[in-house]
Amino acid sequence: MSRVRYLQALGKALRDEMERDPSVFVVGEDVRESLRGVTKGLLDEFGESRVLDMPISEQMFTSFATGAALAGRRAVVEYQIPSLLYLAFEQIVNQAQKLRLMTGGQAKVPVVYLVPGSGARLGLAGQHSDHPYSLFVHAGVKTVLPAFASDAYGLLVSAVRDDDPVVFFAPAAALPTRDEVPDEPYAIPLGRGRIHREGTDATVVAIGHLVHDALVVADELADEGVSIEVFDPRTLYPFDWELLGASLARTGRLVVYDDANRSCGLAAEILATAAEEMPLTSPPKRVTRADVTISFAVELELAALPSRERLRAAVREVVREAAHR
């Protein structure tokens, strides 16, 4: 067991899987020098044929990974910023994701699309601050967004071993966080959420790095006598609806805390499913980004992002609402 930063946990997972399975290879831009930090040391350990530096051609190398996967390899494709996924969207959603069904099960596309450092990070501005995971959830692509280093390790291992395409978002704000990570390789299955803190008054579903925020807010609210349960889905698709249902059976109140746009976002999906299928004693709420491009000026950036203050207000409201019924 070692206390490891999230970014290092990702690197360890990749390294351990590349050692275990010679068909795993990494492809992306500047992955040999490891500009983004995840692939540090992999070139020295595994050689040029397993760590491929590509020209700036995201559409090409995304489908290159598909072709290599069809030919029996396992690819990990790294993107330097989340917006580049928009470029590669067709190659992921219309080719890789659909090939298995369209070919009647002949094709298998084991590819991980890894985005180290997704989301906003003060001053990255409009095109470098996106968190577009709900687009992939909508397209049925397995999507993972761990909050803790130990989960990042286990889920990246599972993602690499998964025979389907998996999009893996590693939020920038979570990269420096530290957690106890076992020294021996281990896998965490996709599709299983985690309850970090049990509570009785409301369930807060926090997405990605916001789990850390939600835990801080939970402590603060506990001082006011409000007990919240913090639910970390870890995998966004397939979502652990069963665990959420069990949590809501206990609390009956739901707030979703999501660092992505409001319209048609993951928070909307969670609210809709909870409203359809789970026992709610008050109308649920979501705290998300505003539907606006992120500005450069810090005040404007922060004004568009979800905040602890807004989360506190939302929790108080759903609890108060229930008290009136």
Binding site: Y6, G117, R121, L124, P176
Partner: protein, 77 residues
Amino acid sequence: MIEVHIPKLGMSTIEVDVVAVHVAPGDRVDSDTIVIEVQSEKANFEVEAGTAGVVKEVLVQEGDEAKVGDVAVRVEP
């Protein structure tokens, strides 16, 4: 007075760990003297004084977490 700041170590780094402090108030430094060492999730970096002079104040200790842009050391040229 010259202020030595915690440097930006990458596009998205906001905090770093101070992993070593090499100077104390009263020390003479050259512009390339390494005053502190910091570590982000990605890399280690040796921060130089940037100016020849005398160290007046050291505002961080080994083991601290510091924010990018914070003043770490003050040097009188």
